[in-house]
Symmetry: C2
Subunit: 342 residues, 2 copies
Amino acid sequence: MSGDERRLHVLRAIVQDYVRTSEPVGSKALLERHQLGVSAATVRNDMSQLEEEGLIAAPHTSAGRVPTDAGYRVFVDRLATMKPMTRAERRAIEEFLAGAVDLDDVVGRSVRLLASLTNQVAVMQYPSLTRSTVRHIELVSVGGSRVMVVLIVNTGRVEQRVVDVGRDMTDQAGEQVLQDVRAMLNAEATGQPLPDVPALLHSAMDRMTPDNQAVAAAVVDSLGDALLAQTEERVVLAGTANLARVVTDFPRSIGPVLEALEEHVVLLKLMSSMSGFLDEDSVAVSIGAENPYEGLRSTSVVATTYGSAGGMGVIGPTRMDYPTTMASVRAVAHYVSEILDS
Amino acid sequence: MSGDERRLHVLRAIVQDYVRTSEPVGSKALLERHQLGVSAATVRNDMSQLEEEGLIAAPHTSAGRVPTDAGYRVFVDRLATMKPMTRAERRAIEEFLAGAVDLDDVVGRSVRLLASLTNQVAVMQYPSLTRSTVRHIELVSVGGSRVMVVLIVNTGRVEQRVVDVGRDMTDQAGEQVLQDVRAMLNAEATGQPLPDVPALLHSAMDRMTPDNQAVAAAVVDSLGDALLAQTEERVVLAGTANLARVVTDFPRSIGPVLEALEEHVVLLKLMSSMSGFLDEDSVAVSIGAENPYEGLRSTSVVATTYGSAGGMGVIGPTRMDYPTTMASVRAVAHYVSEILDS
DNA sequence: CTCTGGCACTCTGCTGGGTCGAGTGCCAGT
DNA sequence: ACTGGCACTCGACCCAGCAGAGTGCCAGAG
């Protein structure tokens, strides 16, 4: 085996041992646990070179070595193979998820499952609604000039607004206008994807009588509002308590991490940025300082996509068992996708 | 001043100093910061008696004293006066909450506000709907024999169902039935608490014409369903990161606390049990081991009600500034109530 | 050129002893 | 009933010394 090759073996051994013990690993300890076929001195030379390359570092002059973020990067990219799940594990996952009764439940179960499989914080984006469509739009006069606008989405969610249309709607003429506008809205929007709807409605309005237009404008406005609220995305978390268990892995404190986890907007961005360019079944890993968000600089994020949209993953210390974690994330995402497809 | 009275002063001084410094407080230090008008020896005697009564304890033989849960209890019940908020603080709270655009936003802002005012974890129950009332029920024929039932609750939430009433509703007679049933529903249910509504409607149905009854039965059924979905309760959290700041205040670790915070069911029970028997404007405090939930044994909970239903509060270390915290909780609840009423 | 064994050196962590100071409990006196 | 004083206790802190782990480097073997 060439020197380069052996050095990578050494790096892998260091990562594995460090993940297991969370203590800096020295040349001698390495020899005991791994058959490298060379002496301690050689390993020391290799380590020294790995250190020069920035893949490992020594916390102080005479301690063992610890992988750097770059070291983990190389480990993940070139040395790690995902640890396949056992048959029993797969069955357990499948059964647990199969018990879910509705979308909320699927998401809730998945994220909790992932958290407990990995002993880390799990994050899951709600299925993105940008691909949902309009099922029905209803208008109801609720007295005076006020009209209630109800938007029903094909996922079963309902959004509702009351809007003042500026003229009395309780008389015969008002009723007629309402009927016309309602017909127009449903003709244009029913079955259309939510993001397209505002444009469709606006262009349709030009073809209406001026009398109807005034009312329609107010209604369409509030519909736009309702659509926006529907596409507003959400994330759910589980396993925050797992952070406390590994508290020693965080240099300063877990404070910044908890803060970042509370910023759901940040998590959403994170999930979509990481899962944006992924193949089916592959997993993205962002390690330590690679992470764009200040509070997560001391963590690694392992993420993937599920279903037709939406990301999920886990957040944990950089010192994490990447092969197992990656396998868990992929497995859960796989089964969630299956369930959502059906 | 009698001896008993002075001992209580001593207890108060100990609590105040300990909350400030988080270090055990001794007799001498007490004299420096408080004018008790007696000597150190006297204070020592008092302390010794307070210790016998179980209100304070010494972490080890020769350290100062620390309040016990019972000590805090006495402090809260007999010695503390809520620290009134300044005019500026009140204004700031009011303005921040006034900027909210919908119910979700009100809840979100309130809970974040409370967390940052108290530097602790804030918990807020979504307006509990068991005490909510019906604002309006609307029926809309949506073609054929299908009718959309819309339930509007006084908190602003809306629930909607489509139900098949078994006969065509698009003709004149159908419209008339719809109108009758709608009138009945609103006459019976408007302003009534949600849990009472099903019973009220069922008894009212007996007084209807057979023709209307058939339709009403289907509608009432689906209303029951909607009511049930509405009473499903939720809590929101903010300020989890504040736990990290006071991590030293927790004997073991914050792990169990984080776990408890993830159990939303536990938090819901907590909120409703604590806010169940409260007067308007009063605040409930549960200290340390008084708490029924294992994971929260090392924390105190300060809670109150807001609006016509629903609890909110904060969770923090037993070593907390009760007067200020209680005042903040009360103030935020007060303004939230005002906003929800309007 | 690469690997090995050996050696000197450096650092951390731990231990034991000594001191300091805060704080207590008790007692006799006012 | 309160006070001043005194002896005592015990943790916190500092320091020195020691053991152990680990390194870097070098000279020699393959």
